[in-house]
C-alpha cells in the first residue's frame, strides 16, 4: 500500500514537471511584439558562411539604422542548408522574425501558409526590377530580390575552334542537333574526360533550377500553369519524354557524367571537361583562369528556344511581425539602386535594375558580364508559382535522377505526374 502511494506521488511529480516544461515553451521570448527583440526588428538570412553577401546585407542594415532613430534592425545569419527548416520550425512556434529572406520559388508556398505579409506601397519601385526577382502570389507582391542568376554554357574559344564547333550567339543558339555534334567532336578530340559537365553532382534545389529549363525548352513543363491543377500532358507528354530521352542519351553516350564531381567549376577550369553548364557565379573563377579565352554561351535550344532558371533569394516581411511599419520602412530603404549594386557586386550576380547594373563593373551595357543580364532577360523562366512547389521540386528531382540512371522515361514521368496531381488535389489546389 505504501509503495503504491509513493509511486503515485512520484508519477504525479513527473507529470507536473513535464507540464511545466512544456508550458515554458509556450511563453514568448524577450520583450516587445513577435519578431522583435527589445524593440529591435529581427532579420533572418540564409547567408551564414557566405561572407561577401552577409557583409553587404550588414552594411545596408547599418546604413538603415544610422539613417533614422525610430527603428533598429538586427541581423541573424543561418546556414543555407537548414534555413528553410529553421523558418518552418519558427513559424510553427509563432516565432518568425520581422524581416527574412526566401528562396524565390518558395514564396508562393510561404505566402499561402501565412508566413509573409504583402509589400505595400512599393509598386512603382518594383516595376523597374527584373520580373523574375519580384515574388508575386495571388495578385499581391510578397518579396523582391536584389539580384538574379543566369545559367550558361561555358567553354573556351580555343577549344571550340580547335574542334570546329560554331560559337553560338543569343540570337542563334545551338540547336539540339548542333549541340550533339559539338559534343561528338569534343569527344573525338580525346582531350577531355567528358565533353561536357552538367554539374549533376550538385544536390538540392539545383536539380529543378537547372534541369527543368531543358524540359521547358523541349516543350514540356513541371505543371500546367493554367490553373496549376495537374501536370498531366506537360510533364509526361511526348515533349517531356523527348527531353527525358535526350537527357539520358547524354549519359549513355558518355557526353556527361551521371554524377559529376563535387566541384564542377574546378574540374572545368582544370581542363577535365570541355563545356560546363553552371550558374553565373562561376564566371569569376572561369575568367580568372582563361581570361579572354573564356566563353559564356546561351543554353541549348531543344525546340522552343533556350530557357534558363530564374528567381534567386528574395526578401520579405513576416505576417506576424509586431512592427509592420518598421519592417516595411526597411524594405523601402533597401530597394535603392546603390544597395542593389552593392549586393550584386558582392555576390557576382546580375543586378535587378538597369540603374544598378550601370554601377556594377562588368554589368554595364557592353561589359563582360552584361551577357548574363541578357540571358536572364530573354530566357529566364520562373519555376511554377504555386504553394505546391516544394513537393513538385522534390518529385521532379527524384524523377530526373531516376531518368538519368536509366529508368524508363514514360513510366517515371507518369509516376511523377500521379504524385504531383495527388498532392495538388489533397491540398484542394491551394485555394
Amino acid at each position: 500500500m505504501k509503495k503504491t502511494t509513493s509511486r503515485a506521488i512520484v508519477a504525479a511529480a513527473v507529470f507536473a514537471a513535464t507540464a511545466a516544461l512544456t508550458l515554458t515553451g509556450c511563453a514568448k521570448g524577450g520583450g516587445g511584439g513577435a519578431g522583435t527583440s527589445d524593440g529591435q526588428l529581427v532579420m533572418w538570412t540564409h547567408n551564414a558562411g557566405n561572407k561577401a553577401e552577409l557583409a553587404a546585407i550588414q552594411s545596408i542594415v547599418s546604413d538603415f539604422n544610422a539613417s533614422q532613430k525610430k527603428y533598429t534592425v538586427k541581423v541573424q545569419a543561418f546556414p543555407q542548408d537548414s534555413y528553410n527548416q529553421s523558418v518552418t520550425a519558427a513559424a510553427a512556434s509563432k516565432k518568425l522574425p520581422c524581416i527574412l529572406d526566401i528562396d524565390g520559388p518558395n514564396v508562393p508556398n510561404w505566402a499561402w501558409a501565412g508566413y509573409l505579409a504583402p509589400l505595400t506601397g512599393m509598386d512603382s519601385t518594383l516595376a523597374k526590377f527584373l520580373p523574375s526577382t519580384v515574388g508575386k502570389y495571388d495578385g499581391k507582391t510578397y518579396s523582391y530580390g536584389f539580384y538574379d542568376v543566369a545559367l550558361a554554357m561555358m567553354s573556351r574559344k580555343s577549344t571550340l575552334e580547335a574542334a570546329g564547333v560554331r560559337i553560338p550567339t543569343i540570337d542563334q543558339p545551338w540547336t539540339k542537333a548542333e549541340f550533339q555534334d559539338a559534343l561528338d567532336k569534343l569527344k573525338a578530340s580525346g582531350t577531355f574526360a567528358y565533353p561536357a559537365d552538367f554539374s549533376t553532382g550538385l544536390t538540392g534545389e539545383w536539380w529543378p533550377y537547372a534541369y527543368s529549363p531543358f524540359l521547358q525548352s523541349a516543350g514540356g513543363d513541371l505543371i500546367d500553369r493554367d490553373g496549376y491543377k495537374t501536370a498531366d500532358g506537360v510533364l509526361n507528354g511526348p515533349d517531356a519524354v523527348e527531353w527525358a530521352k535526350w537527357f539520358r542519351g547524354l549519359v549513355a553516350n558518355g557526353d556527361i557524367s551521371a554524377k559529376s564531381g563535387a566541384d564542377p567549376v574546378a574540374d572545368f577550369v582544370n581542363g577535365k571537361t570541355g563545356i560546363l553548364y553552371d550558374g553565373g557565379w562561376a564566371a569569376e573563377q572561369v575568367r580568372a583562369q582563361f581570361k579572354d579565352d573564356a566563353l559564356f554561351l546561351p543554353s541549348v535550344d531543344l525546340g522552343k528556344g533556350p530557357k534558363i532558371g530564374g528567381a534567386s533569394w528574395q526578401w520579405g516581411v513576416s505576417k506576424t511581425c509586431g512592427d509592420q511599419a518598421g519592417a516595411l520602412a526597411y524594405m523601402k530603404f533597401a530597394a535603392a539602386d546603390k544597395y542593389i549594386a552593392k549586393v550584386a557586386k558582392a555576390t557576382g550576380t546580375i543586378p535587378t535594375t538597369e540603374a544598378a547594373a550601370a554601377m556594377v563593373p562588368g554589368y554595364q551595357p557592353g561589359g563582360d558580364n552584361a551577357i548574363f543580364r541578357e540571358f536572364s532577360k530573354k530566357f529566364a523562366e520562373v519555376r511554377p508559382v504555386t504553394p505546391g512547389y516544394p513537393f513538385i521540386a522534390t518529385t521532379f528531382t527524384k524523377a530526373a535522377q531516376d531518368i538519368i540512371n536509366g529508368a524508363d522515361p514514360k513510366s517515371t514521368l507518369d509516376q511523377a505526374v500521379k504524385d504531383i496531381d495527388a498532392n495538388q488535389k489533397s491540398n484542394n489546389y491551394f485555394q
Binding site: V10, A13, V14, T18, T88, G114, G261, P390, K398
Partner: protein
C-alpha cells in the same frame, strides 16, 4: 556443445541470504526507495517529454493529413495515408532495402567485430594502440565518414584505383543500382565495427582464464577452445549485440542522405530516409508519420522475435 557448469553450493546458499537482507532493508528501505525515485525524476521527465509524447503525437498524426506548412489545421483521414503507402513502389523498395541491409550487416559487422576483439584481447604491448585505432571511426561523425567514402567510391576514386592495382575493374559503386547498397553496407560496417569490438572485448574478458587453462590441459586446439569455451561464455554479449545492431541497422539514414539520396533507381532508399524526405522536403507530415508508425511496428516485432529466440531457457526452470 558443453556449457559452463555453475558451482553448485552457491545456488542452495542463495535462498536464505536475500530474505535476511530484505528484512534489514525495510527499516531504512522507504528512504532509499524515495531517493531512488527522485534520481529517476529528471530522466523520466525528459523521456516523457521528448520520447513518449512525440511518439504518441506521431501515431496520432499518421491518421491525419497534417502538413508541415499549411494555414489549415490537420484533418482526420483514417487509413488514407496507409493505403497510399502500401501502394507506393518507393515504400516497398525502402522496406526491401532496409531488410536486406539489416540481414547482411548483422552477421557481417558482428563477425568482423568479434575477430577484431579476439585479436586485441591479448596482453602484449601495443594492444591499446590498436584498440584506439579500431575505435576511431566510431567517434568520427558519420556525416564526415560518409563524405570521405563518397570521394573514395567515385569511379576514379581511391577504392577503384587500389582494385585496379590488383587487376580488378571496380564498378561505379554509388552509381550502379546493383552495387550501391553493398557500398553502403561495407562503409557502415567499417565505421561501426569498433564499437561492437569493445563490447565483445568486455564479454571476452568475463570468461574465466581457468577454463582456458583447463581446456589446454585437456589438449584442446585453439579452435576447440573457441567453440567450446569462448562462444558459450559470450551468450549474453551475443544477445545484446544482436539486438543493438539490428535496431541500429533499421535506422539507416545518414549515409543514404549524404551519399546517394535514395540511390540510383531506389536501390538505397530506406524507411527512415523516406520518412524524412516526405516529412521535411515534401512537407507531408501525416504521410511521414504513417511511415514512422510502420517502422516502429517493424522494429518492435523483430526485437520481440529476437528476444524470444535468445531467451534464457535455463532461467525458466
Amino acid at each position: 556443445m558443453s556449457t559452463i557448469v555453475k558451482p553448485a553450493p552457491a545456488r542452495s546458499g542463495a535462498a536464505p541470504a536475500p530474505a535476511r537482507r530484505a528484512r534489514t532493508r525495510l527499516v531504512g528501505g522507504r528512504k532509499e526507495a524515495a531517493v531512488g525515485w527522485v534520481m529517476l525524476l529528471p530522466a523520466a521527465v525528459l523521456i516523457l517529454t521528448f520520447l513518449l509524447v512525440p511518439i504518441g503525437l506521431t501515431f496520432g498524426l499518421a491518421f491525419t493529413n497534417a502538413r508541415l506548412v499549411s494555414p489549415e489545421p490537420a484533418r482526420f483521414v483514417g487509413m488514407d495515408n496507409f493505403v497510399a503507402l502500401f501502394t507506393d513502389d518507393t515504400f516497398w523498395a525502402s522496406l526491401r532495402n532496409t531488410i536486406v541491409f539489416t540481414v547482411v550487416i548483422v552477421p557481417f559487422q558482428s563477425g568482423l567485430a568479434l575477430v577484431l576483439a579476439l585479436l586485441v584481447n591479448t596482453r602484449t604491448r601495443g594492444t591499446t594502440f590498436f584498440r584506439t585505432v579500431f575505435f576511431l571511426p566510431v567517434v568520427t561523425s558519420i556525416v564526415v565518414v560518409s563524405m570521405l567514402w563518397l570521394f573514395m567510391y567515385q569511379k576514379d576514386g581511391l577504392i577503384n584505383v587500389l582494385l585496379s592495382k590488383v587487376g580488378i575493374q571496380g564498378p561505379d559503386w554509388l552509381g550502379d543500382p546493383h552495387w550501391a547498397l553493398l557500398a553502403i553496407i561495407l562503409m557502415s560496417a567499417w565505421q561501426a565495427m569498433g564499437f561492437h569490438m569493445i563490447i565483445w572485448l568486455a564479454g571476452l574478458q568475463t570468461v574465466p582464464a581457468e577454463l582456458y587453462e583447463a581446456a589446454a590441459l585437456d589438449g584442446a586446439t585453439r579452435w576447440q577452445q573457441f567453440a567450446h569455451v569462448t562462444w558459450p561464455g559470450l551468450r549474453a554479449t551475443r544477445t545484446f549485440i544482436l539486438i543493438t545492431i539490428t535496431i541500429a541497422a533499421f535506422g539507416l539514414f545518414t549515409q543514404v542522405q549524404v551519399m546517394t539520396q535514395g540511390g540510383p533507381l531506389n536501390s538505397t532508399t530506406t524507411l527512415v530516409f523516406q520518412a524524412v524526405r516526405s516529412g521535411f522536403q515534401q512537407q507531408q507530415t501525416g504521410y511521414a508519420s504513417a511511415i514512422s508508425l510502420v517502422f516502429f511496428v517493424l522494429v518492435l516485432v523483430v526485437t520481440l522475435i529476437q528476444r524470444f529466440l535468445t531467451r534464457d531457457k535455463e532461467a525458466r526452470r
